[in-house]
Every structure is written in C-alpha cells, then in structure tokens.
C-alpha cells in the first residue's frame, strides 16, 4: 500500500458517495431534477465500494504491506487528521439535522413526511461524510508529496 493507492481508494469511495447522496438529497427536498436514475439498484454502488475499499485497506494492512509502510501510512499525525475531520462531520451533521427538522411541515405531519425526513437525514449525513472522505484523501496525499 502506498499513499497514492490509499488516495485512489478513499477519493473514489468519497466522490461516488457525494454524487449519489447529492442526487438523493435533491430529490427528497423536492428539487425538480431533469435527470433521474432509472435503475434504483445503482444506489447500492457507493455501499459496495465502501465495503470493498475498506476491506482492501484492512487486507493490505495485515497481508500486503511491510511494517515500514504501515508505520508511515497509519501514524499519529494521520490519526489526528482523521479525528479532526470526523469531529467536524459530527458537528455539521448535528447542525444539518437541526435544520432538516426545522424545515418540515409540522402542521400537516404524516407518516409519509416522517419517512421522507428520515431519508433526508440519512442522505445529508451520507453527503457530509462523503465530502469529508474526499477532503481527507486529497489533504493526506498532498501532504505525503510535499507537506
């Protein structure tokens, strides 16, 4: 495993998440998109990518990389970057969920609207963590080259 390979895995997973989550969120919030997914099974793609990507990273840590590479790839400075971004993700999600709660039509509340709100929250959280995954991958790779 190298910094570039990790960048590729994380960036692709993150970018695909951002695409699907943005699409889903815009649909759920009622924006009239001109383009629609015809095959809804495609929504499994980001999830499958995350499973495969995380599986590959874990497998490579234990079986494909030497100790020196693992020391460099998973050191304490990288962990700190991850903690900071994850914390930012939880904070942004908290604010986002509060806003999503606030914009609901509580006067005409129904199970359908409740169901829709749950999907909105899920899509929003998905989008935020996708963006942070892309952000992490780019910063991590950039620093490994010249930082």
């Amino acid at each position: 495993m190298t910094f570039f390979k990790r960048f590729l895995v994380l960036f692709i997973c993150g970018a695909v998440q951002v695409f699907f989550a943005t699409y889903l969120l815009l649909e759920l919030l009622g924006f009239g998109l001109a383009w629609h997914l015809m095959n809804h099974d495609m929504m499994f793609i980001p999830g499958i990518l995350v499973f495969v990507g995380s599986g590959y990273l874990t497998f490579s840590y234990y079986f494909l990389s030497d100790e020196q590479s693992n020391n460099a790839l998973y050191d304490e400075f990288t962990a700190l970057r991850y903690y900071k971004l994850a914390t930012a993700g939880y904070v942004i999600n908290g604010i986002g969920i509060f806003i999503l709660f606030s914009i609901q039509d509580w006067q005409n509340w129904s199970f359908e609207l409740a169901n829709n709100m749950i999907y909105q929250i899920a899509a929003f959280a998905w989008l935020i963590f996708g963006v942070l995954l892309v952000w992490f991958s780019m910063g991590d790779f950039k620093e490994s080259k010249g930082g």
């Binding site: 020196q68 020391n71 460099a72 050191d75 304490e76 400075f77 620093e143 930082g147």
Partner: protein, 72 residues
C-alpha cells in the same frame, strides 16, 4: 529554536540537519511518515511522548534538547 507551535518550541530541524539525516531517514527510524516530521519541524503538530522519545533516540539527544516550553 525553529518554527514552533504556540505551546511548544522545537529545535528539531537544526538537530536533524546537524546529524546529516533527511526527513525521510528520520521518519523511518522514528516509525512515522515523513510528513509527520515535517509537521513537527514547522510547528504544525505536537508529537506524542513516545514519538518525541523515538526522535530523541535517533538523533542521540535528550527530548529537552528538541523541545522546550515557551517562557511566559
């Protein structure tokens, strides 16, 4: 002292260059990435106790030679 974190002054770059090691060589010996060494030298990151001890051991000096608390 070189470029330092607001809570910790460091002299890592000077001592490292004094021993003729590159950032890459020091990072391999201290079992971290090169960017971690760079981040410490530039005052972006304060290392853990274990990492500070590993760096000191590699450079054959004391931790106090590498890092100092700023005087108030």
């Amino acid at each position: 002292m070189g470029k330092s974190h607001e809570k910790l002054l460091n002299n890592l770059e000077g001592l490292r260059k004094g021993t003729g090691l590159t950032q890459q060589e020091l990072s391999e010996s201290a079992e971290v990435s090169r960017k971690s060494i760079n981040a410490i030298e530039n005052g972006i990151y304060v290392p853990s106790t274990v990492l500070a001890l590993k760096i000191a051991k590699t450079l054959n000096c004391n931790v106090e030679d590498l890092f100092k608390l700023p005087e108030k």
